[in-house]
Each structure stands twice: as C-alpha cells, then as structure tokens.
C-alpha cells in the first residue's frame, strides 16, 4: 500500500490534457515531516528549501501548500532546471519567479479539493494555474514541485515533491493548470 502522487497538466485555454501520469518523486522531506507530525517529535533535522537543516518542533501545525496568488515560497512551483529527479533534493534547481516579465509566470492561488472516495481509493487534489503574460516569448517549464510552509522556530519552507516535465506556456497570455493528486488506497 502506497501513498501515491499523480501529476496532471492541462492547457487552460484549450482544455487539452498534456500530462497525466504518476509523479516520479516524492522527496525525503515529505515522509520526514509526516512522521515528525505523527510522532510529535523528530530527532533528525529536516532540510528546508534554503538548504538549512531545521529541527522539528511541536509548533508545526500544518504542512501548508495552500498558497495565495503570487506566492512562490510554497504551493505548487515551477522551474527551468533539468537536474535528474532524486529523493534527496530539497528545492527546484532554477525556480521561476512570479511576474509578467521574461522568464516569469503569474502564479494563481492554489486550490485544494478535499478528499473523496473513488472505489477503494481516497483522493484529494492540489492545483495551481500559471500564466505567461510576457508578450514576445514562450515560457519553457522543465521542473515542477510542491513546497510546503511549516511553522517551526521560524516559518520554514520544505520541498515535498519534484518532477521533471517539459511544458511550454505560450506567450501573451497562455496558461497551464498543474494538478497534483494525492491518493491512499485500500488494497495491498
């Protein structure tokens, strides 16, 4: 029985599904944070997106990925890096920032659809739309990730998953919606 993660990318204008597959890579911070929450303690340190090792604290209430519009420190995030996926990674290689300039994308608010049961599987989804408002060049996305905000002694950010995927967001208003689906099931 696995905690599975699926990645889906849809062109927002045409509705065409461009990617629909199982995510390649939870990274190590996800089970570390999950286990820390369950045990309400954690003896090892957990590496944040700034490459700083953080001690878990019981003040950690959420694994917040529910980012508002323009926020790029948590939520679904995108980048241009092509470094191979690996479970030990702690950040995107080259993150795309929010904006309407060259090489930038307008980050919408994250939307989360709460859990439901499909057959013997319980699922929920996390989605975000990215728009390229730059007038003269397409935006080439190479990597996608999930960052979480966790309140420790200070507010920290951790990467939970990272996928390599080539997508093009066309210039002058093109947009894509990226959806991660988290599933747990009732089969061995």
């Amino acid at each position: 029985m696995k905690i599975r993660l699926y990645l889906k990318i849809v062109d927002t204008k045409t509705g065409k599904v461009e990617v629909d597959r199982e995510s390649h890579s939870w990274v190590i911070q996800f089970p570390q944070i999950l286990c820390a929450h369950m045990a309400s303690k954690y003896t090892d340190q957990i590496r944040d997106t700034g490459n700083t090792l953080r001690n878990y604290q019981t003040t950690a209430q959420a694994i917040n990925v529910n980012a508002a519009a323009t926020v790029i420190t948590y939520g679904i995030v995108i980048g241009t890096g092509t470094t191979a996926e690996d479970a030990t990674q702690y950040k995107l290689t080259t993150q795309i920032i929010n904006g309407s300039g060259s090489g930038q994308a307008v980050h919408s608010a994250v939307t989360i659809v709460e859990s439901s049961v499909v057959g013997t599987t319980a699922i929920f989804t996390v989605a975000r739309t990215f728009t390229n408002n730059y007038a003269t060049a397409d935006l080439l996305v190479k990597e996608i990730g999930i960052y979480a905000q966790v309140s420790l002694s200070t507010t920290c950010y951790f990467m939970l998953a990272r996928d390599l995927e080539n997508i093009t967001i066309v210039k002058a208003g093109g947009s894509k919606t990226i959806t991660y689906t988290v599933t747990v099931d009732n089969t061995s």
């Binding site: 905690i3 286990c35 929450h37 369950m38 009732n186």
Partner: protein, 191 residues
C-alpha cells in the same frame, strides 16, 4: 521515490516476526487529515472520528496543535497503535476498529505500552524506514485472539478528537496470558 506502509508483529519473548505484510488499509480519514494539513484552513467536509461523529470546520485553529499525533502513552487506547478482535473486512470507509481491546487486565483486555517512533537508515540498503511501534501484553488470565490492528490519530487544538487512519485485518494472532507482542507500522521510503 516510493512511500510504502507495512505492518509487522513480533513476539517479544522469542523475537520471531509473526506477521509482516504490506498494510492494506489507509482509510479515508488519513486522506482527509493529510488534506487538512496541506490546506491549513477550515475543512468543509465531514471527518468521522472514532466515536462516529462528523467533525468539520476549523480543526486547525492556530493553537499550536496538529491533527495527526500518534504518540499514545501507556494505557492510552484512543491514540497510537491499537488492536482489536473483529475480523470484518477492511474498507476505505472504516472509522474505528470493530472491537477494540481496552487497556487493562480483565477479560479480552490488553496492556498497552507507549507508542514510540524511530528511524532506520539503509536497512535494507537504499531505504529510509520510519517505525511507529507499540508493545502490548496480555495480563488477562486467558488467551486473546487479535484480528485487527489500527492506528488512531489525535487532533490537538482547542478540543481533542480522535480519528482512525489505518485499519488492517491480520487474521487470528493468539497472544497467550503473560505474553507480549511488538506491533510496528513501518513507513518505508525507497529511493
């Protein structure tokens, strides 16, 4: 990277592992609580607690708790690894064990130790393993046949609610009077 869940039961006296299989059953509440943690806001839907009550709304209220604590102390049966005697087939919609063994030395009671947590790196090679474990003992004076194992989580905010996150039907595992077992949920991360 895969995140797999296993259930393991070991006899404390002999050290023999009597059960070791992939866990069959996260249940709906685990998905809901994980979603709640990701959302960091009031949950619109109902999350059924172990009492069968639907809980909703601001389960995260800013008071510093979180909603997936499994660290049940000695004798605590509403949080942590728990065992029971019902063999009703698992369902994604299970919200409680069928017949939980209460803490104590009466008939069909179990003595529960503390639910503990530890981590093993590279055992087996290429894995990182997180183990939630609890020792249980039978001081009831008679044999008890365990049929089910579960993991209950507590949501600690202004109020405390308890939710079933995992339920596995193990088949009959007999624990005789005076015997003890170690129950482990093993979250194995394979790169």
């Amino acid at each position: 990277m895969d995140v797999d869940l296993f259930l393991r039961i070991k006899d404390m006296a002999s050290g023999r592992i009597e059960y070791h299989k992939p866990s069959r059953s996260f249940v709906l509440q685990f998905s809901q609580l994980l979603c709640l943690l990701f959302k960091n806001a009031a949950y619109a839907g109902n999350i059924k607690d172990t009492g069968g009550n639907n809980r909703t709304g601001a389960l995260i209220d800013g008071s510093g708790g979180n909603c997936i604590r499994a660290n049940g102390g000695p004798g605590t049966v509403n949080k942590g690894i728990v065992v029971g005697r019902a063999n009703t087939a698992e369902s994604i919609n299970d919200f409680v064990l069928g017949t939980i063994c209460n803490h104590g030395v009466g008939a069909n009671n179990i003595l529960y130790g503390i639910t503990e947590f530890r981590m093993e790196v590279n055992d087996p090679p290429g894995t990182m393993t997180f183990i939630l474990e609890r020792e249980i003992a039978n001081g009831s004076g008679g044999a008890i046949t365990l049929e089910e194992v579960g993991l209950y989580l507590a949501q600690h905010t202004a109020a405390v609610y308890y939710f079933c996150a995992i339920r596995d039907v193990t088949g009959g595992i007999v624990i005789n009077d005076g015997e003890s077992k170690l129950i482990q949920y093993v979250i194995q991360v394979t790169n």
